[in-house]
């Protein structure tokens, strides 16, 4: 083979790798830019009053306290509904389900649930929880809607965590006379716990950032007080950001970036928490 041919092959490899590296840089730049830009522009709006006061003058003055509280309630509500059901479903699929049509159907359903657009979950929540169950436009309806959406993610990650527990653990437990449920509850679940928590934390973080479904099932732009019961309407950070940036003319830029920063901080801090739990669990093993 001629030196020239080899050289040109080497050049084409160099060029190709440069493009691949460029693609990676293009993928990474926006996320870093968005985070840094939001911090720089939002930090000036952040102060004690902004975080602890009610908004006034259509959000142009005052703070975003009720939106923070509302988002916290939504995360809690999603957790309460999605965690137990999601984990039980994962236990069913890994420990009890046989390889038959029903199991395959459940798996297909989970996979497709994950792909259903969030706005369609909003319509589902409106039709089922708000109207059919008569929960009204409320925290409860919104939590159930977000939990339905989070279900697929909780099941998928929990299933992976449970499957990663070695078979020998189960056999050892069954061999000393434990029942199946005792084995699952005392041996499998504690081992799978870090993985399950990681998945749940990620799902909750997604729920905190969701806007389209809650826009349909009960988020309000302004309320005079905090929600007093699960049947009350609520404010939420993502919906607040949407409304002030898209519908309030003359909104001060720094306030908008401040809201964006708080939302980003809430969502990403949970993402980072999930990553830390995962790394810690891996080190322990």
């Amino acid at each position: 083979m001629g030196t020239e041919a080899r050289l040109s092959r080497e050049v084409s490899q160099r060029t190709a790798f440069a493009f691949l590296a460029l693609a990676t840089v293009i993928t990474l730049t926006p996320v870093l830019f968005i985070i840094i830009y939001t911090i720089i522009n939002g930090a000036s709006a952040l102060n004690w009053e902004f975080l602890t006061h009610f908004p006034s003058q259509a959000g142009k003055a005052g703070g975003i306290f009720p939106a923070i509280v509302g988002t916290f309630y939504l995360m809690l509500g999603t957790l309460i509904f999605a965690l137990p059901i999601g984990v039980l479903a994962a236990i069913y699929l890994t420990e009890y389900a046989k390889d038959n049509w029903l199991t395959r159907l459940i798996n297909t359903a989970i996979m497709n649930l994950a792909g259903v657009p969030s706005i369609v979950f909003g319509l589902f929540g409106l039709g089922v929880f708000v109207l059919t169950f008569h929960f009204g436009l409320s925290l409860l309806a919104a939590s159930l809607t977000l939990a339905s959406q989070a279900l697929a993610m909780v099941v998928t990650t929990s299933r992976e965590a449970i499957l990663a527990v070695p078979k020998e653990y189960r056999e050892g437990s069954l061999a000393i006379g434990a029942t199946k449920w005792q084995t699952v509850g005392h041996i499998v679940l504690p081992q799978a716990l870090p993985g399950i928590i990681t998945g749940v934390v990620l799902a909750i973080s997604r729920a905190a950032g969701e806007t389209a479904p809650i826009l349909i099932v009960g988020a309000a732009f302004f309320l005079p007080g905090l929600p007093q019961s699960p049947f009350d309407q609520f404010m939420a950070l993502p919906y607040h950001l949407y409304t002030v940036s898209a519908h309030v003319p003359g909104m001060p830029r720094s306030t908008m970036w401040g809201i964006a920063l708080v939302l980003l901080a809430v969502v990403l801090s949970f993402d980072v928490l999930a990553a830390v739990i995962r790394i810690k669990a891996r080190q322990r093993k």
Partner: protein, 305 residues
């Protein structure tokens, strides 16, 4: 003695009963995913199908006039459908080369240290809420697009497409990378043994072998873009005409639902029409996801044997 075995028996029975009880709940929880999916279908059909009684399906799909509050109202969703198609295809066309290139770099070229740093950052991108991407598009990208293309407004399909391409990147990268990883080492070794360079191996062996996984990645990215709501609601412009160019303001299907549902009277014609759009949207994403699932299944089987 008899008493002792009696209590043991009853204890066992109680344990068994308790276990049955819990297993019943576990089974129900397992079924719930199906229940929710069927619930979604049922609600969309119940609220959406009556819309076709007022507007025949053909007119609904291909009508160009969406005047929900005129007298009489007309419901044609072609403008929304064309907007969705235009924005998602453009977004996918931008995201695929970048995403697959990034995946190939991470899977085949990058040192493991780079990979370990890059992957969590891409996961962060997946975690940024869509309203935040809409906000960024609204504050930063749309003025840029407006001045570059000399437009009357920067709120247009192109701005939405660029933001959506960013949002579909993480899933395209991660699924493609998994697919490339699954290519058996023997394939690559054979190529090297024949004297191929690393790039020739990637291009002629790895990527073709992982093609079904990469196809699934593209489908999943497309599905994500079709269903995205907040970003397009905030930056696509909201015009109701059938768009002919991506730099025009437009309203994709998701944005049409989100912006209309607040004003629609429950059970009214507009309300039903919006649920019908939801039904069509659901069918579109379901089809895309089922194809992706099929293709992934095939990839798995290919390397399992």
């Amino acid at each position: 003695m008899v008493a002792a075995s009696d209590t043991e028996e009853s204890l066992k029975r109680r344990l068994r009963l308790g276990e049955r009880f819990i297993e019943g709940w576990i089974f129900l929880a397992g079924l719930l995913a199906i229940v929710v999916l069927l619930g979604i279908v049922a609600i969309l059909l119940k609220e959406g199908l009556p819309a076709f009684g007022y507007t025949p399906p053909w007119e609904f799909l291909f009508g160009t006039k969406w005047y929900p509050v005129s007298e009489p109202p007309t419901f044609g969703i072609l403008p929304f459908f064309v907007s969705t198609l235009m924005i998602t295809l453009l977004a996918t066309a931008v995201a695929v080369p970048i995403g697959v290139g990034c995946a190939a770099y991470l899977a085949e070229v990058a040192p493991s240290k780079v990979r370990e740093t890059v992957k969590p950052i891409i996961e962060l991108l997946a975690g940024i809420p869509s309203v935040m991407m809409g906000f960024i598009g609204l504050m930063l990208l749309s003025p840029l697009v407006q001045s570059i293309f000399h437009l009357n407004t920067g709120f247009c399909g192109l701005t939405a497409s660029i933001m959506l391409s960013l949002m579909s990147l993480p899933i395209i990268v991660s699924v493609s990378e998994d697919a490339l990883h699954a290519v058996p080492n023997e394939f690559k070794e054979a190529a090297y043994a024949l004297g191929a360079t690393q790039w020739e191996t990637i291009r002629h062996v790895c990527i073709p072998a992982a093609l079904s996984g990469i196809t699934a990645a593209i489908m999943l990215g497309l599905g994500r873009a079709i269903g995205e709501t907040m970003t397009v609601l905030m930056v696509a412009g909201g015009a109701l005409a059938v768009p002919v160019s991506p730099v025009e303001p437009m309203t994709p299907m998701t944005a049409a639902i989100a912006s209309g549902i607040g004003n629609a009277v429950r059970g009214g014609l507009q309300y039903q029409a919006l649920f019908a759009i939801g039904l069509i949207l659901f069918i579109m994403t379901l089809a895309v996801n089922l194809v992706a699932e099929r293709v992934l299944e095939r990839q798995k089987r290919k390397f399992a044997g």
